[in-house]
């Protein structure tokens, strides 16, 4: 039990820090609340979908921005828009915020600005992915040890 409690405490601390750093926001908490016996892996599922989707979008954006002949900003914008939607749905606040800036560069058709934003997106995304994977691992450990995942309000 001590192990479980320890793990749980670790989980709570970690979660709190993620929120504090702005990596995750309240939406993520909502997702966690949606998880229940009927959908026990809901959060992991959504997160996985998000990771896949995000990578795809990042690739699209990168490709579009690299076009020497002329960047199709509309296409970039479309991808950014989608990324914004999905990141906000999952609670990936920092990623979402970068998207907002990214969009204005797209509108301004500023290639440099867009590229910079893309770099930021990649950075934030990697960070988020790592952190979430750590969090999920912690969760798994708790469950394996027979405990339940604490709900963070």
């Amino acid at each position: 039990m001590d192990v479980v409690n320890q793990l749980r405490r670790q989980f709570v601390d970690y979660s709190t820090s993620l929120h504090r750093e702005g990596i995750l926001d309240d939406q993520f908490t909502q997702l966690q609340k949606l998880q229940d016996e009927n959908s026990p892996d809901f959060v992991v599922e959504v997160a996985s979908l998000f990771f896949e989707d995000c990578e795809k979008l990042i690739n699209n954006m990168g490709r579009a921005l690299e076009q020497q002949q002329g960047v199709d900003f509309k296409q970039v914008d479309a991808s950014v828009h989608q990324l914004k939607g999905s990141s906000s749905s999952i609670g990936a606040m920092r990623v979402k915020n970068v998207c907002i800036t990214f969009r204005s560069f797209c509108e301004a058709q500023n290639r440099e600005g867009c590229l910079r934003c893309l770099q930021q997106v990649i950075h934030e995304f990697s960070l988020l992915k790592n952190k979430l994977q750590t969090l999920f691992r912690l969760e798994q450990q708790i469950l394996t040890a027979g405990g339940s995942i604490p709900v963070i309000e």
């Binding site: 939406q27 909502q30 997702l31 949606l34 959908s39 809901f42 599922e45 959504v46 979908l49 998000f50 896949e52 989707d53 479309a78 828009h81 989608q82 914004k84 939607g85 999905s86 906000s88 749905s89 999952i90 609670g91």
Partner: protein, 621 residues
Amino acid sequence: MTVERIVSETKDQFPIGMRVLAVDDDPTCLLLLETLLRRCQYHVTTTSQAVTALKMLRENKNRFDLVISDVHMPDMDGFKLLELVGLEMDLPVIMLSANGDTKLVMKGITHGACDYLLKPVRIEELKNIWQHVVRRKKFDRKDRNNSDSLDKPHVDSGEAAGMGNADNNVKLNKKRKDQNEDEDEDRDENGHDNDDPSTQKKPRVVWSVELHRKFVAAVNQLGIEKAVPKRILELMNVEKLTRENVASHLQKFRLYLKRISCVANQQANVAASLGTADSSYLRMGPLNGLGNFHALAGTDQLHNAAFRSFPPSGVLGRLNTPSGLGIRGLPSPGTIQLGHVQNSGHSINDPSKLQSFVPGNHNANILQGMPMSLELDQLQNNKGVSHIGELPTANSTSVFPVSGSLMDAQITGFSNNPLLGVTSNSLMLEGSSRQSALHASNLRDGVYAIGFQNGNTLSEFASIDPVSNQLRDSKADLQGQAASINCNAGKIMRSVAQEWNAPRKDAPYQSHLMSCSVNSSTSSNGAMVQLDQCLDRNNSIFHRTMDSDSIGPLNFVDPLSIKHVEAHNSAMEPSVIEKERYLMYQSRPQGNHIPDSVGSLEDLASAMMKQDQGKGNRRTQ
């Protein structure tokens, strides 16, 4: 995911078990949405393709109660899907987007969305979406019941209500519905009294192109003012079509006409939108019988009841006609001739000078001529398409209450926001409620000149002869018309305004709001009052400056304006054309989206109004 239908159980427990179709190309969001919806105990079907969604819907119209769709999708624009669903299946559609831009929200509303949610969507919001289903059912029912009844009281009270709620046309509608409901309760013609959508057993009628064509032909034959569902049904002679079906379709049609009759000044925008709208309208195209409806023929004088075919010029053509038609109660939907508004000479006594404007150019000048005899001097609409209803000569009676003030260029800051939709909507509404009220002579009243924009300066509002006298006569008519139109218009205008604003920034046109500026000089009648109400609503919305090249003085005879006219001649500028079809616009603007747009409209309106009537803003959003 499949929809499990537990028919009997779910019916009893509505909203539990409500069948929702969720469409979103983003898998993350889709999964989240599905989970949330399931958590609300709805039956959910998901798809990431709009095309698939449409297919599913078409296969079985009764399979779903509600559709939730993302705006931004690769295979089809969310708005397009929205329109198609509304048109073909008459299902409530909720839009979903990460982008909460007012313009987009407005666009959603004008395309007929019941609601517009922002991502990330919260479960609390989803818990209430069932209300859209209920509302629609109720509304449909009421509408059908009403169509035949020509209930003046409805209208009146509706208008009155509307008046009060200047800012919320929806409320007006709602009120009307409620009233209808009350009144119709005992004579509910619908066999099914269930408001419970899931128990509605009425089979959905598919308004195919052919069917719609017949419908339009029938309406044409009867004349928009006299087109009552019963008669339309008879003329159509289609098996298994009920009066209720026709009635509700008629209402939508009117709304549509109204909508497209709004003047859209933005050429480019309009053109663009028309372009896109085209396809959606295509479906409606034949449906609307735009062709049949009197298009602005420029020179024709419409006779009262005749809807003239409107030679569609470009995209607008299509749109235009409906507008002409849509005007219910407006004196014969005739083409509104711009340019000739001559106070003196036209003796268009026939109220039927309803002219719908067909914006000559694709872009937009869709003037929806409310059948009003407007004497617009300058309605020269740019491409000749816009015809503004001529006011029957200045004689008293036919004069359109378009107050002289109307026209003159009320150029408001609204640039390009064609208040589209409003027109059609209002027309539609009007039609239904006012059947009796409006008559050919209504033309006078109803001059709704919707100035189409053309990028030209407004101004040309032809001098609409303030036909006070005419107003008087037509007041009653107008009232009817105006009221309904107004209400609708208001609604539409509101939504449209925003939408249109954006694209058309370049055009300095002023949208003419559908202003019913009824001649102030006319004595105010009770009708006026009503109009007034409507007007208010419309006014605020309509105050859009439109380029008037199309239609100089678009005078919308807004019932409301009539009253206002007295107080002031508020020249409501014709609104812009709404490019999208506005089907039963259930405007239920969520507080969040609409306010902005309304606000601006209202500001505009107020500004305009102020000058004329010092009526402050009635609407507060």
